[in-house]
């Protein structure tokens, strides 16, 4: 964290930002602001000359297949994100972002693509799209229940080097073994929209704690947020399996 505050990188929102993914940035920015910590958002577009490696936290959203492969090209050409992750900067990848950060993904047209390999995860399309509310028990200490909405065709298998973000209690998630998402070090990936950080403030604060290098002081959560979490956790998934 520099003198200007926490630098939040919004990575390729023109390609990976289809499902309100910008919301995760807004949540981080406001939660810092509420604590009096300044922040700066660095928007990295696919037209940008390079991906900066100096930001404190990186956010990637989801996108359509073509956008996802285009994002892959941009990120491998200018490896700022990979360098930042290697020094421990937190990275959040949602949906298509998860697939791009994994080792390998296959798009709907059957073509296999190499991912950035920041997490050990291989994604292949399934016969049916997973669409609906998801609830998981987060495996990261202190986060608790995660609630979100999933909408993805991909099914993701995790390798030995990574662990799931949560265990699915409702919904589909990665597919195999009731796992949802994938974590390796400070790289956190998930299929949950909502956006996930809006619905799950504990995860937002965990990422921010990693970004500033120390746990953040708790703040009083807005009461509508607690009510929303209760309401969503009582909803039925649309695709119970």
């Amino acid at each position: 964290m520099s003198a200007e505050g926490v630098r939040i990188a919004l990575v390729l929102p023109d390609l990976l930002g289809t499902y309100g993914d910008r919301g995760n940035m807004l949540v981080l920015e406001r939660r810092l602001h509420w604590r009096g910590i300044p922040s700066e958002t660095v928007t990295v577009l696919s037209s940008s000359a390079a991906v900066p490696d100096s930001c404190d936290v990186y956010l990637l959203g989801g996108g359509e297949d073509v956008a996802q492969t285009a994002a892959m090209r941009v990120l491998s050409r200018s490896p700022g994100l990979q360098r930042a992750a290697a020094r421990g900067a937190p990275v959040l990848g949602i949906c298509g972002g998860l697939q791009v950060l994994g080792t390998e993904f296959t798009t709907g047209d059957g073509v296999r693509h190499e991912g950035l390999g920041l997490v050990d995860a291989v994604t292949e399309p399934a016969g049916e799209r997973a669409i609906g509310e998801v609830t998981t028990d987060c495996l990261l200490a202190g986060v608790g229940m995660l609630t979100g909405f999933e909408n993805h065709l991909g099914r993701t298998r995790l390798g030995a080097g990574s662990m799931p973000l949560g265990r699915v209690t409702r919904g589909i998630g990665n597919g195999p073994e009731r796992a949802e998402g994938v974590v390796r070090g400070h790289v956190v990936c998930t299929y949950l929209h909502g956006p996930i950080l809006a619905r799950n403030p504990a995860l937002a604060d965990l990422l921010l704690g990693w970004a500033v290098g120390a746990p953040l002081q708790p703040i009083a959560e807005p009461e509508e947020l607690a009510a929303l979490r209760v309401e969503r956790s009582r909803m039925r998934a649309r695709n119970p399996k």
Binding site: L15, T18, R22, G23, A67, A70, G132, P222, L225, N239
Partner: protein, 473 residues
């Protein structure tokens, strides 16, 4: 998106499901929203289940005459009309849909026969279809009778129903769901197709913009004789229209651009979206034939005409320009057309001022980020009380993540009441936007707590429910 869902997979999370899917032409396509859609609606041409009760009225002919025979057509029309009127009397809805569906099932080629000899304008796009259709119908009436699917039934059965209501009308203005235009142009060639815009809408149902684009391009390839009027400021629309031999381009300014930052053809980043962009793949922003200005509209002849609409907002100036372009294309007098579009006050309740629970309320429909942008623009210009209502039923889409793509920050300093199935999501979004708000359990509750003469911005089913309870003023 490529997933398919069967009816059994549906949950009625919010106790209501409307606008379900139909299999048409062998391709699974989503059903668009429909105000008067019955609870089940499989493909009329392959399943008889939903219309089974009506068999009593119109039993299948024991040895059906050849398709297209006059007897069969008149049977189909007659049966459709009887059902439509019964449906109205039984308060099942406006009757348009179910009558059209029955008539279509009795004679699949009926749409082409009903369209024959008429000048038909088809209107499609993500936002503004219904309003523009009403504007086009009004404009066409300067030359003769025009029928229209004003109830919002915007697939083939709705078109059949609309055309059946006035068999002698020489003109028709028909709203069509983006994914169903290709089926329409497979049946007949409309005189004019309006391509308004294309943006994200109901991601969990309608699917990728790319899929919609492909379908619309197919639709235009099937109608080379049709005059296409298209939005040159929307790269997605430019990509669809660019290959067609006769396109009239309308320019109203670039508004919602988050779904068009990259070339729809090759994925390259488009710089200078407001300027004369040209992508490396060759896709180029076309020259405008009609340009919407601050005060009026400049036509192909270069003359500027005044445009003072009763409908609010810049977005309706664009919609009206599309209507004018279509009507002029069909020989209407521009001055007369401009006067008519200026006078339209509301379209199927959109923008209408009504009485709701004895209160005067203005109803605004906003269903996706692009249309919320327009409606927030509209309400930012005044400080009337504001109620926002968001549902997430099947016809709305279950995922409301898009709320975070809407710049509610524009409402800072305002006090807002939120309601609907997703009132809490809205409240959290507004909290992060720095807008103070109160959550009301129901719309009635919100109205009681609101100050006088509020604007209500609601998404699809929330809007529909408010409209159905309202009384015209």
């Amino acid at each position: 998106m490529t997933g398919t869902r069967r009816d059994g997979d549906r949950t009625t999370e919010q106790g209501e499901a409307d606008g379900e899917r139909a299999t048409a032409g062998g391709v699974t396509t989503p059903r668009p929203r429909e105000a008067d859609s019955p609870p089940t609606s499989p493909d009329p041409s392959t399943s008889t289940e939903p219309i089974a009760p009506w068999r009593v009225i119109a039993p299948p002919h024991p040895s059906p005459p050849a398709p297209g025979s006059p007897l069969r057509t008149s049977l189909a029309l007659g049966a459709g009309r009887v059902v439509a009127s019964m449906s109205r009397r039984l308060r099942l809805g406006s009757g348009g849909m179910i009558g059209g569906r029955l008539a279509l099932s009795l004679q699949p080629g009926l749409l082409a026969r009903l369209a024959a000899g008429r000048r038909i304008v088809m209107i499609t796009g993500t936002n503004g279809k219904t309003t523009t259709t009403a504007l086009v119908a009004d404009a066409l009436r300067s030359r003769g009778a025009a029928t229209s699917n004003v109830t919002g039934a915007n697939m083939l059965d709705g078109h059949v129903a609309a055309l059946m209501t006035d068999l002698s009308a020489p003109f028709a203005a028909l709203e069509v769901d983006e994914l169903h235009l290709a089926q329409v142009t497979a049946e007949f060639a409309p005189s004019v197709i309006l391509l308004l815009n294309l943006s994200r809408d109901q991601m969990d149902r309608v699917g990728e913009i790319r899929t919609v684009q492909r379908s619309l391009r197919t639709a235009l390839e099937r109608a080379p004789q049709t005059r296409v009027v298209a939005n040159r400021d929307d790269p997605n629309i430019v990509s669809i229209g660019a290959g067609h031999p006769s396109v009239t381009w309308v320019s109203g300014g670039a508004r919602w651009m988050h779904d068009a930052l990259n070339c729809p053809r090759c994925g390259a980043f488009i710089t200078d979206l407001d300027g004369p962009w040209r992508c490396e793949c060759g896709l180029t922003r076309p020259e405008a034939d009609w340009t919407v200005t601050e005060t009026g509209v400049i036509g192909p002849d270069g003359a500027e005409h005044e445009l003072n609409l009763a409908l609010p907002g810049h977005v309706n100036r664009i919609n009206a320009t599309f209507a004018v372009a279509a009507a002029v294309e069909l020989g209407c007098d521009p001055a007369e057309v401009l006067r008519r579009v200026a006078d339209l006050r509301q379209a199927s309740g959109r923008y209408s001022t009504v009485l709701l629970d004895d209160r005067v309320v203005r109803l605004l429909l906003a269903k996706n980020p692009a249309s919320w942008l327009e409606m927030l623009d509209l309400v930012s210009g005044h400080d009337r009380p504001l109620i926002l209502a968001v549902n997430s039923r099947e016809a709305d889409g279950y995922d409301v993540s898009w709320l975070w793509d809407v710049d509610f920050e524009a409402l800072r300093g305002r006090s807002v009441l939120v309601t609907g199935d997703r009132g809490l999501d809205l409240a959290v979004r507004l909290r992060y936007a720095g807008v103070s708000c109160e959550v009301a359990a129901t719309a009635q509750d919100a109205l009681v707590r609101s100050g006088l003469e509020p604007d209500v911005v609601a998404n699809y089913t929330a809007f529909r429910d408010l409209l159905s309870r309202s009384v015209a003023r």
